[in-house]
Amino acid sequence: MLSPAGPKADSVAVLWWILFWISVAVSVVVIAMMLWAALFRRKETTVKHDSGQRFVLVLGVAIPAAILIGTFGLSVGGIAGNADPPTSTQVTIEVTGHRWWWEVRYPEAGFATANEIHVPAGTPVRLRLRTADVIHSFWVPELMPKIDLLPRRVNETWFSADHPGVYRGQCAEFCGTQHSHMAFSVVAQPPAAFQAWLDQQSAPVTAPDTEQERQGLAVLESSSCATCHTVRGTEADGDLGPDLTHVGSRDRLAAGAIPNTFGYMAGWVSNSQTVKPGNLMPPQQLTPDELRAVVTYLQSLE
């Protein structure tokens, strides 16, 4: 949050620096008085026996009250400033928290992905947040403060990224064993690139090109993969785990836990418990050939 990259985080960063300098000033004054007494009033012979009420009333009531009223102004201003986006939103994204990954749905384009939220840079995006199980909290420090995802409720908010870039987000409400590995990334792209990404993601997968990929698709459809995962354009239509339709295009796997490479993905598929202990995907009983085929296929789904 010290390097804000969007209007919401900007305004909080400004607040922070104001609060920081007020705090420094107040602390320095009080601590200096204490230290002065502790260091220089030890040989003192004149103990003052007045009541000292005025000292406390001025320094401990009047001045703090003035500062606090100012701070309240900041707080109210901040609440009002964050309520609505500066311009109308073009894109709505529905995010659903799961233990321990993020489902990201683009209702207008009609597809879902996971743990990677692409947005057009420079325009506000509307977020609709819900949870599939326990309470999570959506937080992208460089872009926006956090907001919780609660059962039976939908929280709506907005954010925007000023410039193209990748911003890290993470679940901020303790949600169980793998709360630590529940990250996501916000990828802000120039509007044209974002549109291209949308078009590419909303298309179903095409038929596999190579023999090994065909074998991988067969494994995917016939094994337990298909009961939990969806790959649009194939028979895999499970909805417990992340949508894998264009999984090859993603940068990281398992909600940020590992990079999306052949080796890591193979390790994940064969036994994800060694990578992210306690996650809800069971180890897969696949032969080395099957494993190689299915990972090759998944990696090809750009």
Binding site: M1, K8, V12, W16, L19, I22, S23, V26, S27, V30, I31, M33, M34, A37, A38, R41, R42, V47, K48, H49, S51, G52, F55, V56, L59, G60, V61, P64, L68, T71, S75, G78, G81, N82, R99, D133, V134, I135, S137, W139, P145, K146, I147, D148, L150, P151, R152, N155, R168, Q170, A172, E173, F174, G176, T177, Q178, S180, A183, P277, G278
Partner: protein
């Protein structure tokens, strides 16, 4: 030092009635006496030792966690164990260390400070200690079996309801309900003692600030614990009997838990801190050689804090997505509670600025406290600013903030209090030279541990994560915090060594080694069972300094109503102006409180393992033993 070895006034008083009182108040020796005692000083000492032990256990958990976070992707403990460690650390530090430790000081010193012979309900006092000990053992027993609470100290539903199989959360709900009994009756005991048993002449405007702190805290306990108990009862029933309080698909609501928890949770911060501030308000005047500045304002501030703290709980829920109008209200209330804090802070500094400072170990810790509490206070104000709170809540910045408030605002005062009152409790002095080392190591270690957490929080590190990736800029700050925690551990070990050394080798302490202002220093070091041979008449806020109060221990030494030599007795005085009302008979040693607590332990253990028949039997046992207890009222036999 102005103090002579034994205060001359006490010498005269002891000469008159000490021998008779010794006999009347003598306790049963050996194991039997150990179980049956109702003496507030023994119980207070036990509270301090037991809470200190829980602090050590909980601190070791923290060291394991810090070691796990020393660098990215470390593998010291598994995620499941880490989650249990932080949950148990928070729960036990708050419930089983901080509050009981301060209750220990209250038990030992509140009756001494107000000039009486015991707490209002000595048997209830023994009971509340046994329940505290047993509920603590109950809670800690979960860890070795790998079923410690694992939902964080605020145990949000539904994570702790449908998504947490196993006994972990049952240990949490039952352990806290069990402990709640102890805390509630302890609070009632403090309030009644302070209201009805102050020495004659101790009007409300002469009550020591530590007593005000303990009493305000006790009132808060009475109104803050019920919401927690109700929440835990509901959660236990949701888990065991499939009630639907927190089940969203059956009309229940998960945010209800958060409201109930934080209506308790925020006042609880002040429940912990107010007695600790009271310790500071005892230490600073003594070592500034003058009365506290602006006493009426400090009293007002203490009470105001207690009241306002019930109106700020929603600032823990700013990220839930509540209506803006409620955010605005709770933002204002949270800012308002800063004012009483400011009053107290300036009263301490003002007292120092107007006095002559005597630098002892207790005073060093008090100065360290002022620095730490100042920093914890200003970061607290930041959380009142709603958008900032939403950005930084549940990050390491929060962890830093509340450790400045709770370690800085409670543990440092507790250490100040231990060094201050150690001679009174044990009759031995501690080494001032080693005291400096204790302070330096603890203070440096504390800051090195917790200051970097502000920065890692600002850099986006959420709390309650068992590990983190490389390359996020968090490594250096976490390394520093971990090293700091080791320094802190060394400092605390050294402190324990100082006390141990003093206990066996320390020089003997006189009655009033510091030239202090309040009545506990008018007793022996350590005090006799009966505290005061002759109950004095209090003439001012600083009875040791006014030159009249001590005199009354001599002048009243032939007055039956002040010496009460026939059996266990204490004075009852009026609530507001401390006027004499009656001489009350007080109970003596009894094993019944221990038996009741034991039966309750059996009951709660039975509930844990769903052995409901055993639970019924235990309930009947409790009812029977309580009947026995009420039957044997003092003064009836």
């Amino acid at each position: 030092m102005s103090a002579s070895w034994v205060l001359p006034e006490r010498r005269v008083a002891e000469a008159a009635v000490g021998e008779v009182l010794d006999e009347v108040w003598e306790e049963e020796p050996g194991l039997k006496g150990w179980v049956t005692t109702v003496n507030h000083k023994r119980i207070g000492r036990r509270y301090l030792v037991t809470a200190g032990l829980f602090f050590a256990l909980s601190g070791i958990q923290a060291l394991v966690m810090r070691t796990q976070l020393i660098g990215p992707e470390a593998d010291v403990v598994s995620p499941e164990v880490y989650n249990q460690l932080f949950s148990l650390h928070g729960t036990t530090m708050i419930f089983f260390f901080a509050t009981p430790m301060l209750f220990g000081f209250g038990n030992f010193f509140l009756p001494l400070m107000i000039g009486t012979r015991d707490m209002a309900f000595p048997r209830l006092n023994a009971f509340s200690y046994w329940v505290f000990l047993m509920s603590g053992a109950f809670m800690f027993a979960s860890l070795p079996f790998g079923v410690a609470p694992n939902g964080g100290w605020f145990a949000y539903v539904p994570l702790t309801a449908d998504f947490a199989p196993g006994l972990n959360i049952d240990f949490y709900t039952l352990g806290l309900l069990f402990l709640g009994v102890s805390t509630t009756v302890g609070a009632i005991n403090f309030i009644v003692t302070a209201l009805k048993m102050r020495a004659p002449g101790m009007t409300l405007s002469r009550v020591p600030l530590f007593v005000w702190g303990v009493v305000t805290t006790s009132f808060m306990v009475l109104f803050a614990l019920p919401p927690l108990n109700v929440a835990n009862l509901m959660l236990f029933m949701d888990r065991r009997f499939e009630t639907k309080f927190f089940a969203p698909e059956h009309g229940g609501d998960v945010v209800l838990w958060q409201h109930l928890f934080w209506i308790f949770g925020h006042p609880d911060v002040y429940i912990i801190v107010l007695p600790a501030l009271g310790i500071i308000s005892s230490v600073i005047p003594t070592f500034s050689r003058r009365s506290i500045v602006a006493y009426p304002l400090v009293v007002l501030a203490t009470v105001a804090t207690g009241i306002i703290s019930f109106g700020v709980w929603v600032h823990h829920m700013f990220a839930v997505g509540l209506a803006n109008v409620s955010l605005t209200f709770f933002s204002a209330a949270t800012l308002a509670i800063t004012i009483p804090g400011g009053i107290q802070m300036l009263a301490w500094v003002g007292t120092m600025l107007r006095g002559r400072i005597v630098m002892t170990t207790a005073m060093l810790y008090s100065c360290g406290f002022i620095v730490a509490f100042m920093l914890g206070g200003v970061t607290g104000v930041m959380f009142a600013v709603v958008p900032f709170d939403q950005q930084i809540t549940d990050s390491y910045f929060v962890v830093a903030h509340f450790h400045y408030v709770l370690f800085g605002g409670a543990v440092l005062p507790i250490l100040a209090g231990l060094f201050y009152w150690w001679p009174k409790m044990t009759g031995r002095m501690t080494s001032p030279r080693w005291g400096i080392w204790s302070f330096v190591l603890v203070f440096v270690g504390f800051n090195l541990t917790f200051f970097p957490m502000h920065i890692s929080g600002l850099l986006g590190m959420p709390r309650r994560i068992y590990t983190y990736e490389d390359g996020l800029g968090w490594n250096a700050w976490n390394l520093a915090a971990t090293l700091g925690s080791y320094v802190l551990a060394v400092g605390l070990l050294l402190t324990v060594a100082i006390f141990a050394h003093s206990l066996f080798r320390g020089p003997r302490a006189p009655d009033d080694p510091w030239g202090a202002n309040t009545l506990e220093w008018a007793t022996g070091s350590p005090p006799k069972h009966y505290n005061f041979p002759v109950v004095p008449t209090v003439h001012s806020l600083d009875p040791m300094w006014d030159g009249k109060t001590l005199q009354t221990m001599e002048t009243h030494r032939h007055d039956d109503e002040r010496t009460m030599t026939e059996e266990h007795m204490a004075l009852r005085t009026s609530e507001l102006d401390g006027r004499f009302e009656a001489v009350m008979p007080m109970p003596s040693d009894t094993p019944v409180p221990f038996v009741v607590a034991l039966a309750m332990l059996a009951g709660f253990t039975a509930l844990l393992f769903s052995a409901y028949v055993v639970a019924y039997v235990a309930t009947a046992m409790v009812a029977l033993s309580v009947t026995w207890w009420l039957w044997h009222r003092p003064g009836v036999e």
